[in-house]
């Protein structure tokens, strides 16, 4: 028994001390940036759109996914080194780019990713009107390679509002929009769960056919009267 205790003690000591030495330190460098078009940040779904980071030269070759926040910013904790930054195809509401960006991470690094969206939402005005929320905006078609699928308005109780996180939404399909150049109106009824809170957050999104994610305006807080 004594021998057993002694030997297990020795094993335990080895096990405890063994871990110490060869463990890696956690990554300390921060890579951060923003996805933008002509200097304007792109509004997205929270945790919806992904950037991929790849690093060559190691035995394990698999992507590091970096999710973009809904205001177009992203950040990742990394080891210093050379990375390739790739936009996941068909994922974000912009034109696919086959080129990867070389990113050299050395300490805290900032990188800006410029993309060309299919559509932009311009002159968005969202306001309360009785029991409804009215939105008015115009679409700007930046690239004509893919058609419009729909425009939608989303209402939510928190600043995180999008296709997945919303309490109410209304859609206008492309077929109901005869002229993209003209201002578009959307009206959505305020659900009781929001009207009792006294405020809500609203966002307009534009869906391009054949692209998974929508492009959104930044969430707007509306105090209910």
């Amino acid at each position: 028994m004594q021998r057993f205790i002694l030997s297990s003690l020795i094993i335990a000591i080895i096990a405890i001390t063994g871990c110490k030495k060869d463990n890696y330190k956690p990554p300390t460098s921060i890579l951060q940036g923003q996805v933008s078009y002509q200097g304007q940040p792109i509004g997205l779904r929270s945790n919806g759109v992904q950037l991929e980071l790849w690093q060559h030269g190691f035995e394990v070759f698999s992507k590091i996914p970096v999710y973009i926040a809904q205001d177009g910013t992203f950040s990742a904790s990394l080891f210093d080194g050379d990375y390739k930054l790739v936009l996941l195809r068909g994922n974000g509401p912009w034109i696919n780019s086959a080129d990867s960006m070389d990113v050299k991470v050395n300490g805290n690094t900032t990188v800006d990713v410029t993309v060309t969206p299919y559509f932009l939402i311009k002159d968005a005005a969202i306001g309360q009107s009785g029991t409804n929320v009215n939105a008015s905006f115009t679409l700007q078609q930046v690239n004509t390679s893919l058609p419009l699928e729909a425009v939608r308005i989303y209402l939510g109780a928190t600043t995180v509002v999008d296709q997945v996180n919303s309490v109410a939404s209304v859609e206008k399909a492309a077929a109901d929009i005869p002229n993209i150049g003209q201002p578009i109106q959307l009206t959505v009824n305020i659900p009781s769960s929001l009207s009792s809170k006294g405020y809500l957050f609203a966002r307009i999104g534009v869906k391009t056919a054949g692209v998974a994610e929508l492009l959104y305006t930044m969430p707007q807080k509306i105090e209910l009267k």
Binding site: L88, G90, P147, Q163, V164, S169, A174, A209, G210
Partner: protein, 622 residues
Amino acid sequence: MLLGITLLLAGACKKDWLERQSRTILLEEQAWNDPKQVVALLANFYDRLPVQTGLQDINNTGADGRIAQWRDMANFDDAMWSGQSNEDGRNNIAAYGFDNWRLWNYSLIRDINLALENMMLYGTKLSDAQKTQFSAELRFLRAYDYFELVKRMGGVPLITKQLIYDYSGNASALQFPRAKESEVYDFIASEMDAIKNELGNDGSVSRANRYTAMALKSRAMLYAGSLAKYNNLMAAPITTPGGEVGIPAGRANEYYTKSLEASKEIINSGVYTLYRANPDPGENFYEAITAKSGNREVIFVKDFLTPQKRHWFSYDNIVRGIREDNLGSSSISPSLNLVESYEYLDGTPGALKIRTADNSDFIYYDNPQDIFANKDARLYGTIVYPGANFKGLPVGIQAGVMAWNTATNSYTVVEGSDLNTTYTDGKLLTGSSGPHRSIQEVSNTGFYLRKYIDSRARTSTRGVQSDVWWVWFRLGEIYLNAAEAAFELGQTGEALTYINAIRDRAGFGPNSLTTLTTDRIRNERRAELAFEDHRLWDLKRWRIADRVWNGNVSNPNAMIYALYPYRVVRPGDAARNGKYVFVKMIAPRFRSPRFFQLGNYYSSIDQQVLNNNPKLVKNPFH
């Protein structure tokens, strides 16, 4: 003397001392010259055919290609998870992962290719007839696996012979690009046509015969036809430049025609008939899937046998109130969404009548089961609903009571904190089977599974378990395949014949439909084939999954609904007191709407596989 003995011993041992045959390893010559050994090997390959749901819990896609995850039945819109709370993630899937439903089981393909070649090389004692039949069976298994691969991944490399590495340091001869999606479907069709007359196994449901081959062709060609048609109807079709994903629209009619021909070959053969042994249409539908004797409807099954090969599906999914073990039960809870997809027998849509037309009051029912009266009998055969029986026992589904409060002139909802509780009036509060909002292993939706649950005694115990078989193909599906293909080809009259035959068996009476729409056919498939591993693949090939499951909480198709029955306590109102009312709600344990993105139409290829073979292209959106 001593020398003599030593010599004798040494001499005696000499001959085969070092050349004995192993008792534990079979040599190629032994394996391929004994029909019993070949059949044993075939049994291994049959057992390894993948299925997304199935009745088992196997996930071994890497090592030998097996997959069967019955729990995945709770991941879509026909059901949710009500079992152990550590699997509650199935009710809270923020979005389906791009790696969901991934399969890359070339381990099975390789073993089959190896078997095909080695049998020809070593099988000198097998007769030519035996070799032909075994080869045909192996080719059926290989084609079936390619169908499982193509419906998940799109076009995959078509490997039909064993690949041998030459140790040259250069593996590029072993790296094959992906075939076109259409080429894989064409391969399946041509293989089935080539082997259908060589398969033998007439009358077998667990080994492939010519009708099994035609059933696979019927389903595969239907998938190919709808991919060709509906993918190209999307605003932006999902394709890759090399055709690994995406079939030209012009081929739709050709595929539908092939599917219809294959279906008709089965239907017109007279070998199979729709199961109608039980005069009660609901019980009959349950037996059509589970009855093993006298069942001429099933075409191909994965059979189980007590006591050698059994599964836990009944233990995990039996109705809570009549479970025979002290744990388990209730895991897969059918949704109200599915229940309401079963039409009324007069052909009207299946939404249940819960409130009066002006929404001012509940509708009061004498018995809980009365709300399900005059429904498609397949509802009874698929789902245990409040007031129904299972194993001849009442199941006790009641959420609580609605007690009338005279002070406020409204009902107070009272629900028990436990099952089998009694209300202050001495009568039942919450039933032995719930539903309950939070207790695990109690239905959260108010419904339980009947299909595939064993009705025999003690089969829901861990000691005995169940040997209900898994149905790969049955005539009911072939009728629906034929109806859909005929309808797409413009032969509506013929399509109506097939669909009315199915509906007649479900209790609608003969010729219940005179017109047909795409939505009707789709709903018919949902009703008939629920929990038989069709829903996901059907929504994918119709290219509507991203709209039905769009991740939006205000979309009723993406949410899972529950129906809670309450007993009314309203003394002094004889018209209402003691009656039953129903409340429809989003299931309390359901958190996150189903969210299927464009990138889910084809599963992603594992990065390790892509790294090993630079000729592979990724699927769209990945």
